[in-house]
């Protein structure tokens, strides 16, 4: 916390006090937390991080919150698994899965939310709120419960049931909106201006976004204090992609790792690929689309950080790819069948995108590659219903033998 200097506009550089605000008054550009990296460098070491908790709070020096006041459910330091089976299928010898579905509410959203809720308490908010594509609202409701705050979550009424039920369990006010995520985002932006509610991804967004950097920090530490050669990241608002990169860059800036040469790839679903469209057309501005994809957690047609994801793609030599809708569930199954990890469609987009990169030869067999799995398949069971084809047996031996005849394992 002591290393935070200001909020700074990512466009014009104008600086603001540390307060719950997300847009520059001069140019509307997004505000970002600025740090005194020299001070961080003097205070941090690999050894100090190793002695920290087995959560993302081991990297608190890079976060805008005091760890003592953190509202923590035990988020982060999720498994980085060597994926030898999947790697063999794809011809990649050094493939890793960062399984961030292993967080307390089963998605990477716990990272930005734990930071935001801690900050919201510091600003003395009583109410926590968000527009959500599904994973975020579960995380906000859970952290709100832990923090003793009231929570209000807004989501598209036709969202997957598992995400709604999970969020409901924590006791928030649910607002089911007859509209798309982008429409809900607009509604919530207007509400944020007129209510003293901490909308985690609107007025609190500058702090919120910082939490995702810890995915970059962790991966580098787990690889033995080295940045990978390739990252494959799902693209929704584009912020996760930019913040994993920021995490790697700032670790190098304070001397924890060498300057990263990671290529930051981004995967979207064909039914909602505004960032990929801009990348393919060589634009630096993202035109909105109307989402129509089964990867609901990536269904953002008007991505807030699309412009910055394009910058990271250009700077790191990354690629952006839109995977066909029909390959998304194939990706989910491929990961489940080879590595024992059941992800949501967003993870299917990543695995399908990874396979396409491997097939195109973008990733060399010896290059260290990390695919980011950010959500759990149990929340989106609808898409896997077709895989349920059981042997129907009675409880006696003969009944089983009859039913099982001709089936192969």
């Amino acid at each position: 916390m002591s290393h935070v200097t200001a909020l700074r506009c990512r466009e014009c550089g104008n600086e603001y006090e540390i307060e719950p605000t997300n847009a520059c008054e001069l140019c509307f550009g997004p505000l970002e937390v600025s740090y005194d990296y020299d001070a961080i460098a003097k205070n941090i070491s690999r050894e100090k991080i190793r002695q920290g908790p087995a959560t993302m709070w081991r990297y608190h020096d890079f976060l805008p919150v005091d760890p003592e006041t953190a509202v923590d459910l035990g988020t982060g330091f999720t498994p980085l698994l060597k994926a030898d089976n999947l790697g063999r299928r794809l011809g990649l010898d050094k493939l890793y899965i960062k399984n961030d579905a292993a967080n307390p509410t089963n998605s990477f959203k716990d990272r930005p939310v734990t930071v935001t809720v801690s900050k919201a308490l510091e600003f003395e908010f009583d109410v926590l709120a968000c527009p959500s594509t599904g994973n975020l609202m579960g995380s906000v409701a859970a952290h709100g419960a832990k923090a003793g705050m009231k929570t209000v979550v807004f989501y598209p009424a036709d969202l997957e049931r598992g995400k709604i039920i999970q969020a409901a369990a924590y006791g928030p006010t649910l607002v089911a909106v007859d509209g798309t995520y982008d429409q809900i985002n607009r509604l919530c932006s207007e509400l944020a201006d007129n209510n003293r509610w901490a909308f985690v991804n609107i007025n609190m967004r500058a702090f919120y976004a910082e939490g995702s950097k810890t995915l970059g920090h962790e991966v580098a530490e787990q690889l033995g204090w080295k940045a990978p050669d390739h990252c494959i990241v799902p693209g929704a608002s584009g912020e996760l992609h930019t913040k994993i990169w920021k995490g790697l860059e700032e670790m190098a800036q304070v001397g924890l790792i060498d300057t990263p040469t990671t290529r930051m790839h981004l995967a979207q679903a064909e039914g909602c690929a505004p960032i990929v469209n801009a990348f393919e057309q060589g634009l630096n501005r993202v035109e909105p689309v109307r989402p129509d994809t089964i990867a609901r957690s990536l269904a953002i047609g008007n991505p807030a950080a699309g412009h910055y994801a394009l910058q990271v793609l250009a700077k790191t030599g990354g690629t952006a790819d839109a995977v066909p809708e029909e390959s998304i569930v194939e990706g989910v199954r491929l990961l489940a069948e080879t590595e024992g990890i059941f992800t949501e469609p967003a993870g299917g987009v990543v695995i399908s995108g990874l396979r396409r990169l491997a097939e195109r030869g973008v990733i060399g067999p010896d290059e260290v590659t990390v695919a980011f799995i950010t959500g759990n398949g149990l929340k989106t069971q609808e898409v896997m219903e077709h895989a349920v084809d059981p042997v129907l047996s009675g409880p006696d031996y003969e009944s089983f033998e009859t039913a099982f005849a001709g089936r192969e394992l």
């Binding site: 466009e11 605000t21 997300n22 847009a23 520059c24 008054e25 001069l26 140019c27 509307f28 550009g29 997004p30 505000l31 527009p131 995520y181 982008d182 429409q183 985002n185 607009r186 919530c188 932006s189 207007e190 944020a192 201006d193 007129n194 909308f199 991804n201 609107i202 967004r205 929704a236 608002s237 584009g238 912020e239 996760l240 501005r285 035109e287 909105p288 109307r290 953002i300 008007n302 991505p303 807030a304 950080a305 412009h307």
Partner: protein
């Protein structure tokens, strides 16, 4: 022809704190000009040097993003609601 414009927080200093203002104009462009007459300086916040809407400003006419309509040339009519929203939310 009068339309209602919702003013976001970052611009309310220019509108003396008003969160809704009523202005004239039969296109979005005319609405912006009319806002500028009432609240000098507001146009430069919304539009860049080329007169185009800034990258980080989203404008909606009756809930529809004007990038799906005709941008600044989008027609507006009596009673329309226009929202100006910083494009830095969500995800």
């Amino acid at each position: 022809m009068s339309v209602m414009v919702r003013i976001p927080m970052p611009l309310r200093r220019l509108t003396n704190g008003q969160d809704k203002v009523s202005v004239e104009g039969d296109t979005l462009n005319a609405v912006v000009m009319s806002l500028e007459e009432q609240f000098p300086g507001i146009r430069a916040r919304l539009c860049d040097d080329q007169g185009q809407l800034r990258s980080f400003v989203n404008v909606y006419v009756n809930g529809e993003d004007v990038r799906f309509l005709d941008g600044l040339d989008t027609a507006t009519s009596e009673g329309d609601e226009i929202s100006v929203i910083p494009a830095v939310a969500g995800g």
